[in-house]
C-alpha cells in the first residue's frame, strides 16, 4: 500500500542552529488513526509543519500522496494543501461574526468551488460533526467544544486525504475534549486518515498507533489493536 505521507530522513534546523528534527522516517497509510506524542520542545510541532507542507525540511524528503514537495513551488504546495490536507488547530481559528456554515464553507474557499456548492457541502460536514442544528450560530454563540467541532468540519469539508489535528483538545475542558475526540473517532471509522499531535496520554491512547517524539527523533512507533 502506498503511504499518504512519507518522511525520509527529514532534518529541520532553524536559523540560529536549533535542530528541531534530527533525521525522521515516518510512513502514514490510508485509514490510520495516529497519535504523535511527546513533551513540548520535542519537535512534534515541527513534524506537523513538515507533514502539512507548511514549511520545507532542511534536508531529507517529504512525499505527500506521491508528490515530492522539495521540488514544488509555492503555488503547487498550496494546491496540495487545498486538495489533500485538512488542519485542526488548538485555537480553533474561526472567523468572528461569521456563521458556522460560512466558516466551514471557507474550508473550500481556495478549491474553485462556487459558494452555493460550498455551503451545501458545509451543511453536510456540520451534520457529520453533530452540529446540524447550529448552522447559523456564530462562534461566540457556541461552546468551546462546539467551536472545535466547527473547525473539524471545516477541515473535512473538502474530504482531505489526511486530517492533522494539532492539540485539538488543548484548549478544552475534559468533557468538551472527549466530545471532540469522539467526533474524530467517528470520522476515522468512516474512513478518514487522521494524525493527532498531542502531549496528553489519554488522547494518544485513543489512537491505534502511537509515535513518540523526543529531541527531534522518533523514539517509538507502536501499533496497538483497539
Amino acid at each position: 500500500m502506498t503511504p499518504i505521507v512519507r518522511l525520509e530522513n527529514v532534518v529541520k534546523t532553524y536559523d540560529g542552529g536549533v535542530a528541531a528534527l534530527r533525521g525522521v522516517d515516518l510512513d502514514i497509510f490510508p485509514g490510520e488513526l495516529l497519535a504523535i506524542v511527546g513533551p513540548s520542545g520535542s519537535g512534534k510541532s515541527t513534524l506537523l509543519h513538515m507533514m502539512g507542507v507548511l514549511d520545507r525540511p532542511t534536508s531529507g524528503r517529504v512525499i505527500i500522496a506521491g508528490h515530492d514537495i522539495g521540488r514544488l513551488p509555492d503555488r503547487e504546495l498550496s494546491g496540495l494543501r487545498a486538495s489533500l490536507l485538512g488542519f485542526v488547530f488548538q485555537q480553533f481559528h474561526l472567523a468572528a461574526g461569521v456563521s458556522a456554515l460560512d466558516n466551514v464553507a471557507d474550508g473550500m474557499l481556495y478549491s474553485g468551488v462556487p459558494l452555493s456548492e460550498r455551503r451545501r457541502r458545509a451543511a453536510l460536514a456540520l451534520e457529520r460533526v453533530g452540529l446540524g442544528e447550529r448552522l447559523t450560530h456564530r462562534p461566540h454563540e457556541l461552546s468551546g467544544g462546539e467551536q472545535q467541532r466547527v473547525a473539524v468540519a471545516r477541515a473535512v469539508v473538502r474530504e482531505p486525504a489526511i486530517l492533522y489535528a494539532d492539540e485539538p483538545t488543548g484548549n478544552l475542558d475534559s468533557a468538551s475534549g472527549a466530545e471532540v475526540l469522539g467526533v474524530l473517532r467517528t470520522l476515522h471509522a468512516d474512513g478518514t486518515t487522521i494524525a493527532i499531535i498531542t502531549h496528553e496520554h489519554e488522547v494518544a491512547a485513543a489512537a491505534g498507533r502511537q509515535v513518540s517524539v523526543r529531541d527531534g527523533r522518533i523514539v517509538s512507533d507502536v501499533r496497538s489493536p483497539l
Binding site: S83, F89, V98, L109, S111, L115
Partner: protein, 396 residues
C-alpha cells in the same frame, strides 16, 4: 499518484473576502476612508464649482450674443472729447451684415429726485439721449413700466437704468424727477444690461425730446450695433471709417462680450491652490489607508496562517489585502464624489448656476482612488504574502 488541483480563488470570493475583512473593523474603516473622502470631495467640489460658474457665464454669453460691437467717440488729437457725426447711425445701418444699430448721446444735464437737491449731488448718474432701437440692440429688458415709443420719445419722459433708479430711489413708473431744470415723468425702469454697463448708470431721454427740451445737438457719443455673427470681424474693421470718415483714428471699437468671455475662461481655470489642498488631503488619506492596512496585517497573522493552511497561495493573500485596500479607498472615493457633488449642487443652486460636475473630474477622482488604494495596499499586501505559514499560525 493523486492529481493535485491547483488552488483557485474566484473573483467573487476575493470580493467577499475583502469586504468581510472591512466589515469586522467598521470604525477604523470609516476613519481611514474619511481622509480619502475629504480629499476627493475637495477636488470634485473645486472643479465642480468652477465648471458650474463657467457654464453659467457661457450660458449668459450665449443669451446675450457675442455679435455686438460698440463704437465710442473717443478723444480728438488735442485731447478733447470727440463727437460722432450726426449721420453715423444711418451710415452704420448701411453696412450689409449689420441688422441693428442704436446710439446714445451724452447730455450736459443732470437728474435729481426733486428740485430741492443741491446741483452737485448728481449721484454719478449720467443723462443720455437714446435712440428707439437701443433696448433691442443691447438686449436690455424693462423691469417695470415701458420703453419709449415714437410718441413718448419727444415728451419729457425718462427711462432709468438699474443703478440710476436705485440711486434716485425711484423704482416705479409715473414718478417725477427733476432733470435739466424741469420735471420729467419716469416711463420705465430697466434690468441690468450686462453687455452695456454704462446704461445701468444712466437716465435715458428720447432722442427727439432731448433735442427739443434739452438742446441736444444730435451727435451720438456711443454706437451699439449687431451684425451676423460670421461678419463681426469684417464689420469691426470697417466701422471706424464708416462712423467717422474724417477722423477714423478718434473712435474706439470694442466688443463687450470679450470681457465676459475672458471671465468665463478664468472661471474655468479653477483655483490651483484649492486643487492642491485637495491633493494633499488625498495624499494624507492614502497614508491613513496604508497605515490601517499595515496594522491590519500585523493583527491578522493567525488568519493569514489559517488561509495558507486552507490552501491559499502567496498570490491569494496578496490579492486579498490589495482588494481590502482598494475597497477601503474606493469607499472613501465614492463618499467623496457624493459629498463633492452635493457641495457643487448646493453652491450652484444657491447662485442660480446650472450644476455641472465634469465627467473627467469623476473619472479622474475614481482613477486617483484606485491608484492610491493600490499604492497604499501594495507594501502591506506583500508583507502579508511573505509571512511564512508556520510563523503566522503562531505555532513555530
Amino acid at each position: 499518484m493523486t492529481a493535485v488541483t491547483p488552488s483557485r480563488l474566484m473573483a467573487r470570493d476575493l470580493l467577499r473576502v475583502g469586504l468581510a475583512g472591512l466589515r469586522v473593523r467598521r470604525t477604523r474603516v470609516a476613519l481611514a476612508s474619511l481622509g480619502i473622502a475629504i480629499g476627493i470631495a475637495t477636488m470634485v467640489a473645486v472643479v465642480g464649482i468652477s465648471s458650474s460658474s463657467q457654464a453659467d457665464l457661457l450660458r449668459r454669453l450665449d443669451e446675450l450674443g457675442t455679435n455686438m460691437l460698440t463704437v465710442k467717440a473717443g478723444q480728438t488729437l488735442q485731447g478733447e472729447d470727440a463727437k460722432l457725426p450726426e449721420q453715423s447711425v444711418a451710415m452704420v445701418s448701411r453696412i450689409e451684415s449689420v441688422y441693428a444699430v442704436a446710439a446714445t448721446g451724452d447730455l450736459e444735464a443732470s437728474v435729481y429726485r426733486t428740485d430741492r437737491i443741491p446741483a452737485d449731488r448728481t449721484g454719478g448718474i449720467s443723462v443720455r439721449a437714446a435712440t428707439l432701437g437701443l433696448l433691442e440692440t443691447v438686449q436690455g429688458r424693462v423691469r417695470t413700466g415701458s420703453w419709449f415709443t415714437t410718441a413718448s420719445a419727444s415728451f419729457p419722459t425718462v427711462v432709468l437704468g438699474d443703478l440710476a433708479s436705485r440711486r434716485l430711489g425711484v423704482t416705479a413708473p409715473g414718478a417725477q424727477v427733476w432733470l435739466g431744470g424741469r420735471w420729467f415723468t419716469v416711463l420705465g425702469v430697466l434690468d441690468p444690461v450686462p453687455l452695456a454697463p454704462g446704461i445701468d448708470r444712466a437716465a435715458l431721454v428720447g432722442w427727439e425730446g432731448a433735442r427739443d427740451l434739452l438742446s441736444f445737438d444730435g451727435h451720438p457719443t456711443m454706437l451699439y450695433e449687431r451684425s451676423t455673427p460670421e461678419y463681426v470681424e469684417a464689420v469691426r474693421s470697417v466701422l471706424p471709417r464708416t462712423v467717422n470718415p474724417e477722423y477714423p483714428e478718434e473712435v474706439t471699437v470694442s466688443r463687450p462680450s470679450d470681457a465676459l468671455a475672458a471671465r468665463a475662461a478664468t472661471a474655468g481655470a479653477f483655483t490651483n491652490l484649492l486643487l492642491g489642498l485637495g491633493a494633499v488631503a488625498l495624499l494624507v488619506g492614502g497614508v491613513g489607508v496604508a497605515n490601517t492596512m499595515v496594522v491590519s496585517v500585523l493583527e491578522r497573522r493567525r488568519e493569514i496562517g489559517l488561509r495558507r493552511a486552507l490552501g491559499a497561495t502567496r498570490g491569494h493573500i496578496r490579492a486579498q489585502f490589495l482588494a481590502e485596500s482598494l475597497l477601503l479607498s474606493g469607499l472613501g472615493g465614492v463618499a467623496g464624489l457624493a459629498l463633492g457633488t452635493l457641495v457643487t449642487i448646493g453652491y450652484a443652486v444657491s447662485n442660480g448656476f446650472p450644476t455641472l460636475v465634469p465627467l473627467w473630474a469623476i473619472g479622474g477622482g475614481l482613477g486617483a482612488v484606485v491608484v492610491i488604494g493600490s499604492v497604499a495596499g501594495l507594501y502591506p499586501a506583500v508583507r502579508a504574502a511573505r509571512l511564512s505559514p508556520t510563523v503566522a499560525l503562531g505555532t513555530a
